[in-house]
């Protein structure tokens, strides 16, 4: 009798809907681009703090964990907060613009990544390419091509900080977080427009 009553109480039906938030310390969206699925995150309505390829579900979880510890645990999915960035990115990937014009935040980058990615962003414009060795030299560690590769591989601001423009000394495409097809697509896009 009591257990039947408890079962009836437990059977209170599902109801309601998820809460909505207008803004958050970190707002993010998962966006399907021409290159594949990407996670974009910004600080409130401020700079972009993450742009990574979601090649599997663990990437999304790990990126959100890193944002929670590096920026704020108040990480909330608010797709509308990224509408402007998504539009710019789509436009860029369709060849409609050469500059994304989005302010960047380096919270997820290590000090070494900031050196390497900073040099890359400053020195390698749209349509240009460089090599791991050249980037190592610019970063002040000419023999650290391998460490440059590691820094690029974990780029928290893919596409916006153009690690796709870094190729092997003989011109081979080598690796890319979004897959080699994505890298080829980006380089082709820039070559056509240049």
């Amino acid at each position: 009798m009591t257990s039947e009553l408890i079962d009836r109480l437990r059977a209170y039906p599902p109801t309601g809907h998820p809460p909505s938030f207008a803004t958050a310390d970190v707002a993010y969206a998962v966006h399907d681009t021409a290159l594949g699925r990407m996670l974009l995150a910004r600080k409130g309505s401020g700079p972009l703090v993450a742009s990574v390829f979601v090649t599997d579900s663990t990437v999304e979880d790990r990126t959100l964990d890193r944002l929670a510890s590096a920026v704020s645990p108040r990480v909330v999915r608010i797709p509308e907060a990224l509408d402007d960035v998504r539009r710019r990115l789509d436009d860029y990937l369709a060849g409609g613009r050469r500059v994304l014009g989005v302010e960047l935040d380096w919270a997820l980058a290590s000090p070494w990544q900031r050196v390497v990615l900073g040099a890359l962003a400053r020195r390698v414009p749209y349509g240009a390419r460089t090599t791991y060795g050249q980037l190592a030299a610019w970063a002040g560690r000419p023999r650290a091509a391998r460490a440059v590769g590691a820094a690029l591989g974990a780029n928290p601001l893919c596409v916006l900080v153009p690690c796709h423009r870094v190729v092997a000394a003989r011109g081979a495409l080598t690796g890319y977080a979004g897959g080699l097809a994505a890298k080829a697509l980006l380089l082709d896009l820039e070559a056509r427009a240049a």
């Binding site: 309601g16 958050a24 645990p73 999915r77």
Partner: protein
């Protein structure tokens, strides 16, 4: 353990918060109370010290928001055309049971329970909280909580036979 991204709490627990909010409010204003609970949880989240038992933390906030809503409702003047029935129902926190619920007879009886018995029963069986978490939400001891739950069940059993 660092705090997980807030969105993980939303994804894991929004259904639990919504059900409890609706049950505590008798269906009425449940959506508002659930949203308020999330807004308060978001505001307080950075100062949470332990990531253990975040579910109980959220449901305790939900309960508090429901109590606030009941208090606000009691302060509001009752519209004249609502008649005496509504005015007397407003004494109890859950003013009315949601007639659209399956098992509406049971939920009418739950609404009619004394306030603390009803809260204890709902926190125990709709929210599925442990006695010590319910005790914290109600500002009492685990022993008193067990008594509230069993008294509530006894009353319901009597009413339903």
């Amino acid at each position: 353990m660092p705090l997980p991204p807030f969105q993980r709490l939303v994804d894991a627990y929004w259904r639990d918060v919504a059900r409890l909010a609706h049950a505590l409010m008798g269906g009425d204003e449940g959506d508002d109370v659930a949203q308020q609970a999330w807004t308060q949880a978001y505001a307080a989240y950075p100062s949470v010290r332990s990531s253990a038992n975040l579910r109980a933390w959220l449901l305790t906030i939900t309960h508090r928001c429901a109590m606030d809503a009941h208090r606000a409702r009691r302060r509001r003047p009752t519209p004249v055309d609502d008649g005496p029935l509504h005015a007397s129902a407003a004494r109890t926190p859950a003013a009315a049971a949601d007639a659209t619920l399956p098992d509406a007879l049971l939920w009418r009886r739950v609404v009619a329970l004394p306030d603390r018995q009803r809260d204890a029963v709902l926190l125990r069986y709709v929210a599925d909280l442990e006695h010590r978490d319910i005790a914290r939400a109600l500002g009492t001891t685990a022993t008193a909580t067990r008594r509230l739950v069993s008294d509530g069940l006894a009353t319901l059993r009597r009413d339903l036979t």
